[in-house]
Subunit: 225 residues, 2 copies
């Protein structure tokens, strides 16, 4: 498989060639089509995944079937590493949002590398610290902001990570249905739809199939606070 992409990941940047090839020797490549699940909440897990291309949603399901998305992960990002340090079953499920290619690494192999290379643990610590920061922020938003505010915030976040400049604004090909967007911001599909409709009507965004174009970044930012 193509290890070049992995080589360029910050997590492995500090490794010497020997350690890197030892690590990548036992890599599994996984391809997923939209909607297919990689693992479920409660599964045992001994792998972590690096996203080569595509997007993965991490979510939790309540006993009554309602779902809540914890994060959307994109190319170059890593997930499923928590069980490495805290050996418990998967705390979320992972499902492909679009055609997705992953590289799976056994925890065991990474653990060996960690003991030898403090730089790798530093990278992992940083990644976890950032995730924790983000999650705390989301928690606060859920308390402080109303649904339109959270939708605005989510769009801005997605734009930041997946946006590309277009002729009349920023194209955000998030690949999410409105239902998924609703699960991400912790609201009902209907309310999210109404919020989006309002933004469109104000000329802040334009809707496309599983994508939005942000036309007025400033206004949207104001609404998100």
């Amino acid at each position: 498989m193509d290890t070049d992409v992995l080589r360029r990941a910050p997590l492995f940047a500090s490794l010497d060639d020997e350690a890197f090839s030892a690590l990548t020797e036992e890599i599994t490549e996984v391809d997923l089509s939209r909607g297919s699940a990689l693992f479920y909440e409660g599964d045992p897990g001994d792998q972590l995944y690096f996203i080569i291309s595509g997007k993965i949603k991490l979510g939790r399901t309540a006993s009554d079937g309602r779902e809540n998305l914890v994060a959307i992960m994109g190319p170059g990002e890593i997930f499923g590493e928590m069980a490495l340090f805290d050996p418990s079953p998967r705390s979320t499920s992972a499902t492909a949002v679009s055609e997705t290619r992953l590289a799976g690494l056994k925890h065991e192999n990474l653990r060996k590398v960690i003991t030898r290379s403090p730089e790798v643990s530093a990278q992992l610590l940083q990644a976890l610290a950032r995730r924790l920061r983000r999650t705390n922020e989301n928690l606060a938003d859920l308390v402080f902001s109303d649904v339109p505010g959270r939708v605005a915030k989510a769009l801005l976040d997605l734009a930041d990570r997946f946006g590309r400049p277009a002729t009349d604004g920023i194209l955000v090909a998030h690949e999410l249905t409105q239902e998924e967007l609703a699960q991400l911001v912790g609201a009902s599909r209907e309310t999210v739809n109404k919020a989006l409709a309002e933004f469109v009507q104000r000329g802040w965004i334009r809707l496309e199939a599983r994508a939005v174009v942000i036309l007025d970044l400033q206004r949207l930012k104001q609404r998100s606070r």
Copy 2:
């Protein structure tokens, strides 16, 4: 200062005496009375803290002054370590909930220890992973559960961490005002008060000054789901 308590902390358990004494040489002892702040959101921070006794609340303040508590930390726990890996200003404020004694360690000193001892980074990774798991859970609860459910959950969590058996149940001396409890579960003081009153009326709990006694653990658990 008394380094025995620190010695017993899992984070430092793996250190040899030399490394440990190097680390503790530059320790600062901090005493706080209820309500006094250790640091604020946005402050630069180059220390992490170990709680010797007492409790600390970590919170965020919205622009309009409303507050939201991210966590209550108790004896033996560590906080303020995130800036170690992800050098940004403090993402929360830290305030004493009761008389509290802390040991402050400079990030710089801990960083030195980390590079030498992979066990310490493993401990830190585990602590962060657990925190992230907990926070994700709280996030889901905020979406899925109503206020009484969240209050029940918070009480159970506090009981788990600070509860002591009493004659007629579990005494949870959480030291929080109802206002603070409300900020912790993301609700208004009034609604939390109503929820508590209902639990009392059903005979599930008994209220005391900044404490509760859990009388019917089973029912409370059921309500929390």
